[in-house]
C-alpha cells in the first residue's frame, strides 16, 4: 500500500492545489505508516519539481513529453493508472479541480476503484480513510468509506492547507509511457485564458454581486473592491441569467463551487443555490439592505444597508488599511 498524489501543473506552474494535495497526502501517508509518491505530468516540468519538497514530497515520478504540454484526459489517465500500478499505490489523491474531476473517474474505471469526490475533510478510523464531502446542495455532509482495493479521493481546492515547511530533498524519477495516437483522441488544441482577475475557484478573496446591484453598469463597484483586495469577481445566478455577468463568474449550483478565505456577498439574498456553492468559505461578509435575507444566517459579519452606500466607502477604507 502506497499513496500516490497527483500534483497538477499548467503551463509549467504548479497549481496551489498541487501543494494542498501533496501535503494532505503526506499527512495521511504518515498516519498510515506508508510511503508517498507524487506524480507530475506535463512538458518542461523538471524545474518546478523541487518546489514539492516544501510540502512533504520526497519521491516524485515525472512524466514529460511535448504531447503532454496540454492536459489530455485519456493520455493523463493512462499514465496515472500505469504509474499507480507500477508503484503498487492503492490510495490516490487528486485535486477536485477541472483537471482532477475530469481525470479521476477515468482512472477509477481503469483500476476498478471506488471514489470519494470533492472531499472537504479526511480522517482515519481503524486504519481506514473516512472522507467527508458535502451533498444535497451542502445541506448534509456524507462520510464515505471506499471498499475497493484501490481508493481514489479528490480534494476540494482551498479547503486543505498547504504551508511550506523547510523541505527536504526531492528525488525525481522519470517514467516514459508508451503513448499512441489513440491516447490523444480527445486533444486540447488551444487554451483560451480569461485576462485580468483570478478565477473564482482559485481566488482567496471573492467579491460577489447579486440582484441588489440593480444593473450591470453598477458592477464597477464590485470590480473596484475586488481589485483593491486582489480578489475575483463572483456573481449570483440571477445576474448571470439576466446577462449582466458572464457564466464563468457564477457561484453556486449551475455555477462554480468556491472556498475562499473571504467571500463578500453584495446585494445577494442567499438562495440555497447560491449558498451551496460558497458555504465552505472561511469568512463571509454580507451587505444587503434586507435584514431578513438568508445570507445573514451564514455570514460572519454583516452590514444591513444599501450596497450603493456601503461599497464606495468600504473600498476607500480598505485602500487605506492595505496602504494602497
Amino acid at each position: 500500500m502506497k499513496l500516490l498524489a497527483f500534483a497538477e501543473q499548467r503551463e509549467g506552474k504548479f497549481k496551489k492545489s498541487a501543494f494542498e494535495v501533496t501535503q494532505t497526502a503526506k499527512g495521511i501517508a504518515d498516519k498510515l505508516g506508508t510511503e508517498l509518491v507524487v506524480l507530475v505530468i506535463g512538458n518542461n516540468i523538471e524545474g518546478i519539481i523541487p518546489e514539492l519538497g516544501a510540502y512533504g514530497a520526497t519521491r516524485v515520478v515525472a512524466v514529460q513529453e511535448e504531447r503532454l504540454q496540454y492536459y489530455s484526459t485519456m493520455a493523463y489517465a493512462k499514465i496515472t493508472a500505469e504509474v499507480a500500478s507500477k508503484e503498487q499505490a492503492t490510495i490516490l489523491f487528486f485535486p477536485a479541480s477541472q483537471m482532477g474531476k475530469d481525470l479521476a473517474p477515468r482512472i477509477a474505471a481503469k483500476l476498478s476503484a471506488g471514489m470519494a469526490a470533492d472531499c472537504t475533510a479526511l480522517k482515519i478510523e481503524s486504519g481506514e480513510i473516512i472522507a467527508s464531502r458535502p451533498a444535497y446542495a451542502g445541506k448534509v455532509i456524507l462520510d464515505v468509506k471506499i471498499t475497493s482495493p484501490v481508493k481514489i479521493y479528490t480534494l476540494r481546492p482551498n479547503v486543505f492547507t498547504a504551508v511550506a515547511i523547510n523541505g527536504g530533498k526531492v528525488s525525481t524519477e522519470k517514467y516514459t509511457p508508451q503513448l499512441t495516437d489513440a491516447d490523444f483522441s480527445a486533444r486540447v488544441t488551444a487554451v483560451k485564458v480569461a485576462e485580468g482577475r483570478p478565477d473564482v475557484t482559485e481566488a482567496s478573496i471573492i467579491v460577489s454581486g447579486g440582484r441588489g446591484m440593480k444593473g450591470p453598469e453598477h458592477f464597477n463597484l464590485i470590480e473596484k473592491l475586488a481589485d483593491v483586495l486582489g480578489g475575483a469577481v463572483g456573481a449570483s445566478r440571477a445576474v448571470v441569467d439576466a446577462g449582466w455577468r458572464p457564466h464563468d463568474e457564477q457561484v453556486g449550483q449551475t455555477g462554480k463551487t468556491v472556498s475562499p478565505t473571504l467571500y463578500v456577498a453584495c446585494g445577494i439574498s442567499g438562495a440555497i443555490q447560491h449558498i451551496a456553492g460558497m458555504s465552505s468559505s472561511k469568512y463571509i461578509v454580507a451587505i444587503n439592505k434586507d435584514k431578513d435575507a438568508p445570507i445573514f444566517q451564514i455570514a460572519d459579519y454583516g452590514i444591513v444597508g444599501d450596497v450603493f452606500d456601503v461599497l464606495p466607502p468600504l473600498t476607500e477604507e480598505l485602500k487605506k488599511t492595505l496602504g494602497k
Partner: protein, 248 residues
Amino acid sequence: MKFVACINHVPDTEAKIKIGSGGNAIDRTGVNYILNPYDEFAIEAALQLKEKKGGETFAVTLGGDSHKETLRKALAMGIDKVILLKDDSVRDSFSVAKALADELKKLTPDFIFFGKQSIDYNGEQLPGLVAEMLGIPSVSTVVKMSVEETKVICEREIEGGHEVVETSYPVVISAQKGLNEPRYPSLKGIMASKSKPIEERQPIAVPSAAEVVGMQKPPSKQSGKIVGTDATAVPELVRLLHEEAKVI
C-alpha cells in the same frame, strides 16, 4: 445516428433535507423530486444534434419507479425513446456506471450526454467512468460544441478560461450551463409524453466500491455579527476583517 442523454431524478434544490433513521441516507418523505437541472442541458444537446444530423434520441435513467416522472419530462421535451434501468438498490457511482455502460454498449450511441453533475451527490464521476468503461473519449463541463463531419469541437470550462478540445464520436459529453438553452416542454409534448411507452430493463448487478457510512448536518454556523446598518459601520467592518478574522 443515435443520441443518448443519461439523466437522473433528484431532490429539488429547495427541498428540506432530513437525515433518515438509518443515518446514511436522506428521509425521502415529503421531498419533491425533479429532473436533475444539468441534465436538461444534456437532453437539449441530444435534441439539437438530432435536429441537425437526423436520427433518434434516447434518455436513460437508473432508479426506481419514481424515475418515470423524470423520463416523462424527457419525452415531453421531445426525446424519442426512454429506458428505465429499474433498480431500487443503493449503488455508488461505480456501480451505476457499470450498469449504464452495459446498457449503452447495446444501444451503440454516437453521442452520450450527461449533465455535468447530479445535484444530489455532486460527484461528477459518471461521464468519465462510463466513457472509460466504453473505451471512448470524453469531454467534461462543456459549454460549447460543434460537430463537423467526423470532428467534434468542444470548449470546456477550466479555471480562468476555456480549453478547446478536438475529438471524434462516439464520445461522452458532460454538459455545463451555457451549452444551450433547454426548451420548455410544449403542451402537445406533455400530452403526448403521457401515452408513450417507458421501456423497463433489468440493470446488471455490480457491487458498490464506496459506501456512505454516515451523514451529518453541516455544523450550524452561529449567526454572524451585524456590524451596522449603514456606511458608518465600514471602519468597524474593516477593523474586524483585519484584526479579528485576519483575512486582509
